[in-house]
């Protein structure tokens, strides 16, 4: 099942307008996640307040949970060196290309298997 919603993937790369395209509170969520991962404490305080004011406490708590979860997931993936599961998919490859993900050093864990 899909929602048929048009989104702009560049929100993942930090584009606030892209994050807001098709995603409710997308700019606030993106900024919140970004400042947490960058360990920007001033930015985190500001984005926490902005998200709370825009979306409320429940969204803030759920967003904190998801962001914290992926601070864990990225470290599992990189510490174990796992490859991405579906490197043969054209859809997946198109997303990886659009986001220029091969610029990351950890891409080698996935690319080595298909070279």
């Amino acid at each position: 099942m899909t929602t048929e919603t048009e989104v702009d993937l560049q929100g993942v790369n930090g584009d606030a307008a892209g994050a807001a395209t098709g995603i409710e509170h997308g700019a606030e969520l993106m900024s919140f996640a970004e400042s947490l991962a960058q360990r920007d404490e001033y930015g985190l305080a500001r984005s926490r307040t902005a998200l709370r004011q825009a979306a409320g406490d429940k969204v803030l708590v759920d967003a904190a949970g998801v962001a914290a979860n992926f601070q864990r997931m990225v470290r599992i993936a990189d510490s174990i060196g796992i490859p991405f599961d579906n490197m043969q998919s054209d859809f997946v490859n198109s997303i990886q290309t659009e986001l220029n993900l091969t610029r990351f050093a950890s891409a080698q864990h996935s690319l080595a298997d298909i070279q």
């Binding site: 899909t2 929602t3 919603t5 989104v7 993937l9 929100g11 993942v12 930090g14 994050a19 509170h25 997308g26 969520l29 993106m30 996640a33 970004e34 947490l36 991962a37 960058q38 985190l44 305080a45 926490r48 979306a55 409320g56 406490d57 429940k58 969204v59 708590v61 759920d62 967003a63 904190a64 949970g65 998801v66 962001a67 914290a68 979860n69 992926f70 864990r72 997931m73 990225v74 470290r75 599992i76 993936a77 990189d78 510490s79 174990i80 060196g81 796992i82 490859p83 991405f84 599961d85 990886q96 986001l99 993900l101 091969t102 610029r103 990351f104 050093a105 950890s106 864990h109 996935s110």
Partner: protein, 247 residues
């Protein structure tokens, strides 16, 4: 002592979150498969020490992690090599290599012990990050329980991906039958399966912070969450991008 009491906070926290964290804290304090309770809690403490470690900050800026020499700021409980591994996982994880893991294994940090250590470090870190995200102080670490590690190794291991052996997708049987259902064995789920309890912790904490494994198949919105899947994936994607994680 009661852990994860959020009753005095200005914002309400879903009840399953403190319950999950408190249960994990109990498991953290107990002996694992390869580490004692004291060592497990010491690993947890090193995840916090890494964030203020001057050597880690210097190494993160270096072209190569091996281009600078120095000593970590740490609590003195764990061997320097173990401290280095915990700090790397927290502050410089995307430059961990097969050679790094193999070299540690050849010098006393076995791959099963490494996997258990990874599981502890990342879980404690994510719980701490939840607190930091909300502007809440981190929880005091638990008092370790006495006892010896079990030394349990699962059967059916393969070396078909990553830096360590894992249970293959079809290999979660017998004692490991609860690890995943057929069709739910993505690489990130299998990643820690050399230590099955680390996978179980993965499920439980992810289920509170993000979604349960079956819940991840719902691409629209979980009824117990205030944000939909697109909002979740935007958060996940931005955190992963800042961390330069390809996966």
């Amino acid at each position: 002592m009661s852990h994860f009491d959020y009753s005095e906070l200005e914002i309400a926290i879903r009840e399953d979150i403190p319950a999950t964290y408190a249960a994990y804290w109990q498991r953290l304090a107990a002996p694992g498969n390869w580490w004692t309770g004291t060592e497990r809690v010491a690993i947890a403490q090193e995840t916090r020490n890494a964030l203020t470690c001057a050597f880690c900050a210097e190494r993160k800026q270096a072209l190569s992690p091996y281009g600078v020499a120095g000593k970590h700021d740490h609590s003195g409980v764990l061997d320097e090599r173990v401290v280095d591994v915990v700090h790397r996982i927290i502050t410089d994880q995307n430059r961990i290599t097969q050679a790094f893991v193999d070299d540690n294994a050849a010098n006393g940090l076995s791959k099963p012990a490494y996997v258990e250590l990874v599981g502890i470090a990342v879980t404690v870190f994510s719980i701490d990050e939840f607190h930091r995200a909300l502007g809440v102080p981190v929880e005091a670490l638990p008092e370790p329980s006495v006892g010896e590690p079990s030394g349990y190794t699962p059967p059916n291991l393969v070396s078909d991906m990553g830096f360590v052996p894992t249970i293959p997708a079809e290999g979660a049987t017998a004692n490991e039958a609860d690890l995943w259902q057929p069709g739910f064995a993505h690489n990130v789920v299998r990643a820690l399966s050399l230590v099955p309890d680390a996978v179980r912790d993965w499920h439980k904490v992810a289920g509170a912070q993000y979604l349960s494994l079956p819940g991840m198949q719902n691409m629209v919105q979980d009824e117990n969450r205030s944000i939909n899947r697109m909002q979740m994936e935007l958060l996940a994607g931005r955190v992963s991008s800042v961390n330069e994680c390809f996966y």
